[in-house]
């Protein structure tokens, strides 16, 4: 466990503070006043049944969805409804459950999507730099993709997931949101992802991990937050919870 450095203390400004978040889609009330606090370097396991609203809550943090009500603060600064660009600028990176990759764009292009380097006067994309740095980023994460010019649409599910993870990690995030990052990964790659989470949290990056592989959560999480029917149901300490206890909480008991 890498220790929630100041996540639990009331006086410090938390890295992430979400207050009273609500969201409805038509008649469906997905979130009905959810709170979430994450400290610097803390790893929070966000759990709940299918459809509990985990992805929706995290998309709000990443700026991709706007809450109906509630506030989102990062390092004390209000970020509610400012959009994905502002979230990125504040160091929030997310691996989306659907990966959010462009199939017709190559590996390097997907890693740099939205922040492609280009020449100031000619406006020409710096293809050479993108491919070089993309290869370096992948190598650093031990992701075996031989050519960053391959189109992402032609790659395997595991490779695509690895690319989505690499994209989120490559730009020095302060908050890393991982929504089912290991669903398509082989055992070795899952282990590497868990190690990655330990490494970045060691460096002070706050991590929010959503996964249905609950045993993984026990390996890396400092705290479990359980959502049920659109509200915070329970908050659990992995040290005094077991798998059965967590599953029971997820069922709303």
């Amino acid at each position: 466990m890498t220790g929630g450095l100041d996540g639990g203390t009331a006086h410090a400004v938390p890295r992430v503070e979400m207050q009273g978040i609500t969201k409805s889609y038509g008649a469906l009330k997905v979130l009905r006043g959810v709170d979430l606090r994450v400290g610097r370097g803390e790893v929070v396991g966000l759990v709940g049944d299918n459809g509990a609203g985990k992805s929706t809550l995290m998309k709000m943090l990443a700026g991709a969805v706007v809450p109906d009500r509630g506030r989102i603060l990062v390092d004390g600064e209000e970020l509610t409804g400012t959009g994905p660009r502002a979230a990125r600028a504040h160091g929030i990176e997310m691996v989306y459950q659907d990966l959010a990759l462009c199939n017709d764009v190559d590996v390097a292009g997907n890693l740099f999507l939205g922040r492609e380097p280009y020449h100031r006067f000619t406006r020409k994309l710096d293809h050479a730099r993108m491919h070089r740095e993309a290869a370096e980023d992948l190598a650093k994460l031990h992701i075996r993709i031989s050519d960053t010019r391959q189109l992402v649409g032609n790659m395997s599910g595991g490779q695509r997931q690895a690319i989505a993870i690499a994209r989120a990690v490559a730009f020095e995030p302060r908050v890393l949101v991982l929504d089912e990052p290991t669903a398509a990964l082989a055992a070795r790659e899952v282990e590497m992802t868990l190690q990655l989470i330990r490494d970045v949290s060691e460096r002070g990056v706050s991590v929010i991990l959503i996964t249905h592989r609950l045993q993984d959560l026990f390996e890396v999480a400092d705290r479990f937050v359980v959502l049920h029917e659109g509200v915070n149901h329970r908050e659990l300490d992995p040290a005094d919870t077991d798998l059965t206890g967590l599953v029971t909480a997820m069922m709303g008991k």
Binding site: M94, D104, G109, E116, L125, N154
Partner: protein, 333 residues
């Protein structure tokens, strides 16, 4: 990646690369083959085809199609379509005539292009902010814009006599007509922007997965507005060229022009589903259509065969585009 690569992934990578090369260039390769075959056929079938005069004329005739096809490649790659380009050609030709009749030719030129740009931007804004499909918006514009062109001219043509404007259609440099040079500039610039700038990258990304691009912090509505503004202004330029070539601005210019442009783009391998486009392919597609039209005329078949042939080519092109092309470049995801 060399540190973690062994020879087996290397071989796989090379195979993947070859597959990606074919996937990326399949459209251009196949339309080039079609072009060469047709070119050879008409060279043999008609004595008049393979002459400098004829080829220079073909290059002038196809110039408006090439120019607008460059813009249409951007639009179709984002997954949209612009059906209004033919009507914008008509309005621009008419407007150029009227403006030139009553004032400064430079102002006439800029005013005409500004109107065309404004129409394109308006369609783009209704599409992007009103969340109406561009198919519907530009279909409405197709009717309305043509109506405006007829209204302001009462259906008559206006002669153009300005020494500033006429060379845009009739001038030549090094034996090649001005419209052809403008088309070359459009293709080179379009190719550069499409393949080497952020804007071009985002055009592909919008058509591939617009939500991914939005989550990456890019305002995808601006991309949608920009591409329709681009076809608008390029259709305006095509209208100017057409009017200058004929020496008169006619509101009937550009009838069914949108079909020709879309056929050229689809022939060039740009996917109607968005995400994949080729400026070079569109240019060769437009040239192919020009060669077919010219070849048919020279072969002395009844002129009514020209639109019939064009319609049939469009059907075949779309069929190949969605079936064959889709299978060869089919993605796993």
């Amino acid at each position: 990646m060399s540190a973690t690569t062994t020879s087996v992934p290397d071989r796989e990578a090379r195979r993947d690369n070859r597959r990606d090369f074919v996937a990326k260039n399949f459209g251009v390769i196949s339309i080039s083959v079609v072009f060469v075959v047709l070119f050879a056929y008409f060279s043999l079938a008609s004595d008049a085809f393979l002459t400098t005069t004829n080829l220079v004329n073909v290059l002038r005739q196809v110039a408006p199609t090439v120019i607008v096809a460059v813009g249409m490649t951007f639009v179709i790659t984002t997954g949209q379509i612009d059906l209004s380009v033919g009507s914008i050609v008509g309005l621009s030709a008419a407007a150029l005539g009227l403006f030139a009749e009553s004032g400064n030719p430079v102002v006439a030129l800029l005013g005409t292009l500004a109107i065309a740009l404004a129409i394109g931007l308006a369609s783009g804004m209704i599409t992007a902010f009103g969340k109406v499909q561009s198919f519907i918006v530009t279909l409405a514009a197709l009717t309305a814009v043509r109506g405006v062109a007829l209204l302001i001219t009462d259906g008559y043509s206006t002669p153009i006599t300005s020494d500033f404007l006429l060379p845009l259609g009739q001038g030549s440099l090094a034996g090649i007509y001005t419209p052809t040079w403008l088309a070359v500039i459009a293709v080179v610039t379009g190719w550069y922007v499409f393949n080497h700038t952020r804007f071009g990258r985002y055009v592909t990304a919008v058509g591939s997965n617009d939500e991914s691009l939005r989550r990456a912090g890019v305002d995808i509505r601006r991309i949608q507005v920009a591409v329709l503004g681009l076809t608008g202004v390029l259709a305006g330029l095509a209208g100017v060229i057409t009017a200058a070539r004929l020496g008169s601005g006619s509101s009937n210019s550009g009838t069914a022009f949108e079909l020709e442009v879309i056929t050229a783009v689809v022939l060039g391998g740009t996917s109607l589903m968005g995400g994949r486009g080729s400026i070079l392919g569109s240019a060769i597609g437009a040239l192919t259509l020009g060669v077919i039209n010219n070849g048919l005329v020279l072969s002395k078949v009844d002129v009514y065969w020209v639109p019939i042939t064009q319609g049939l080519i469009l059907i075949v092109a779309i069929f190949l585009n969605s079936k064959l092309f889709g299978r060869i470049v089919g993605t796993r995801a």
